[in-house]
Amino acid sequence: MNSNYHVVIIGGGSTGAAIVHDLVLRGLKVTLVERGELTSGTAGRHHGLLHSGGRYAVKDQESAKECIEENLILRKIAPGSFEENDGLFVAITDEDVAYKDTFLQGCAECGIPTRELTAKEALLLEPNLNPKTKLAIQVPDATMDCWRLPMRFFATAKQNGADIRPYTEVIGLLKQNSTVTGVHVRSHVTGKEYDIKADLVVNATGAWAEKLSEMADARVPVRPTPGVLVAVYGRWNNMVLNRLNRPSDGDIIVPQRELSVIGTSSWFAPDPDRLGLPMEHVERMYERGSQLVPGVKYARMRAAWSAARPLLGEASPTVGGRDLPRTFKCFDHKERDGIEGLVTITGGKGTTMRAMAETTSDVVCDKLGVDAVCRTREVVLLPYWAYYQ
């Protein structure tokens, strides 16, 4: 019955992956188009941190609460996609120590479990930590596989009947008066152009959301906010290490496989396709990272790259990327711009991909008059290989 409705999702990142999974479970007919390879935008190249929410517990509590709730759900529906070694917020200076009570209070308010450790206890857990460590707080952070986790959503959706088309770029929107009725695409496999009709189009293009919505003369307040990440050889820590202080540059080291990933920095980029890779940011990752783990200063670099966060916020000369919230928002362009048939989801984080999809799918079903409940909190995802079967 529900499959009488056809939804087209634009964007094959983690948000698109979770939405196509959610909508197919609700019985809708769904086609997802992505201009390049799946998860080739921000999704695959973020830090790989399954947030406990600790990082946002003081200044961005809405996001912190989303993180801890989704952290627990994702572990349940995607077992095997995380290195579950927990994380530490580490105090190295007196200023860090002074931040402890604020941090613990924030975590308590957001429902994030914490455990205080002395310097000695912390160094027994992580022998490579800065010997000047004064104390640490354990939180349920984890490492996620940035590529295989969203691919498990795609795999499950595909096995449940979704039509997923990578290398298919939207070059225009089909419109009747002020209603979006589908997408005009070009296949980068065959070179051919064609139309896909839709009852509703979802713009899940993350940092590209504004570029896309401009095709419909709609506006989305998204700011592509890249940061530099540096992966060094060797696993210098087994737990995720965070600096116990306000979020800043190079203050997290996420271990992953046989690498340690130091991140990140923050600036506004006008074009999400050309982020750049400033050398001084690469050097800053080494310098700041070595405050947490002195040894990484001498570790050989495996890779340095930039990834664009899709942060919510209007352009303003006084607001920096660190001040923008990490929450997400679903925009119905009917209410916002008088344009029917188009919904945009942006903001958010890898950790909150499932929640972003639930919110968006609720809006989609509401607009189409479909009565179906969300099942993504319970359905265990298939292995990612199922995508290729």
Partner: protein, 246 residues
């Protein structure tokens, strides 16, 4: 903080990138297209492809995701050798022209994209467990609530070994280096009965299909060393058949 246009490091060196192009029915048979890029000291082959797609040809198709050698999607041939393009520095190639081609063995889909279904078909029967115990910092205590430190497996299923393997290239039923290495891991981790695992690889499509060229071990970007693991499995198969072991 205002909008900043932050570029890439200096100095820039002009380099030609010669890329195999294929669009079934459109660019068919395949051909090479050559593009010019200004390579900086940190520019990888993947960065060069990104720059070409953003500024010169938006139809260029290639696989990529993590940009730090962890996902395995961006494997391709650079100057004839299988590599992860995200950690292959352009200027370190030392050539004025960089030749970029898709992996071999697996069927070509478009441009630099191959069908990973072929890899999955050979690899998946081994049974996949992506998590192992971390062998790093074994002296460290584990935090409360964590029994033992874990990490993701080193194999990133990139397909490089399958492309480099002379046997896999000509024999579609050969399990291939990554699949046999996965059987090895299943055995040492105790995922399944050792006798079942040895029976699964004791075939001409399994460990006896390998010609010992060791191209897989040479090409593997993650030090999985599949060739060595195939030799280990052979020893285990033979040992299990010796009469005094029964």
């Amino acid at each position: 903080m205002s909008d900043e246009v932050i570029g890439r490091p200096d100095p820039k060196t002009p380099v030609s990138v010669k890329i195999l192009r294929y669009k079934p029915g459109a660019i068919d048979p395949p051909r090479y297209d050559t593009f010019q890029v200004d390579a900086d000291p940190l520019m990888t082959v993947l960065d060069a492809l990104e720059e070409i797609r953003a500024t010169q040809d938006s139809t260029l198709a290639y696989r990529h995701s993590c940009h730090h050698a962890s996902c395995g999607t961006c494997a391709m041939k650079v100057n004839g050798k299988e590599v992860l393009s995200c950690v292959t520095n352009v200027l370190e190639q030392g050539t004025d022209v960089i030749v970029v081609e898709p992996l071999g063995t697996m069927p070509l889909v478009t441009d630099l994209v191959v069908d990973m279904g072929d890899f999955a078909r050979r690899y998946e029967p081994a049974g996949l467990s992506f998590i192992r115990e971390s062998e790093y910092l074994t002296e460290a205590q584990t935090p409360e609530g964590v029994d033992h430190h874990t990490r993701f497996e080193s194999c990133i299923e990139c397909g490089i070994c399958l492309s480099a393997c002379p046997v896999a290239n000509t024999n579609a039923s050969f399990i291939g280096p990554a699949g046999l290495a996965a059987y090895y891991r299943a055995m040492v981790k105790g995922d399944g009965e050792a006798t079942d695992i040895l029976a699964a690889v004791d075939t001409d499509c399994g460990v006896w299909g390998c010609h010992g060229a060791m191209e897989c071990t040479e090409a593997c970007p993650s030090q999985v060393e599949p060739g060595d693991l195939i030799m280990y499995l052979r020893r285990e198969v033979v040992k299990s058949k010796l009469p005094w072991n029964h």
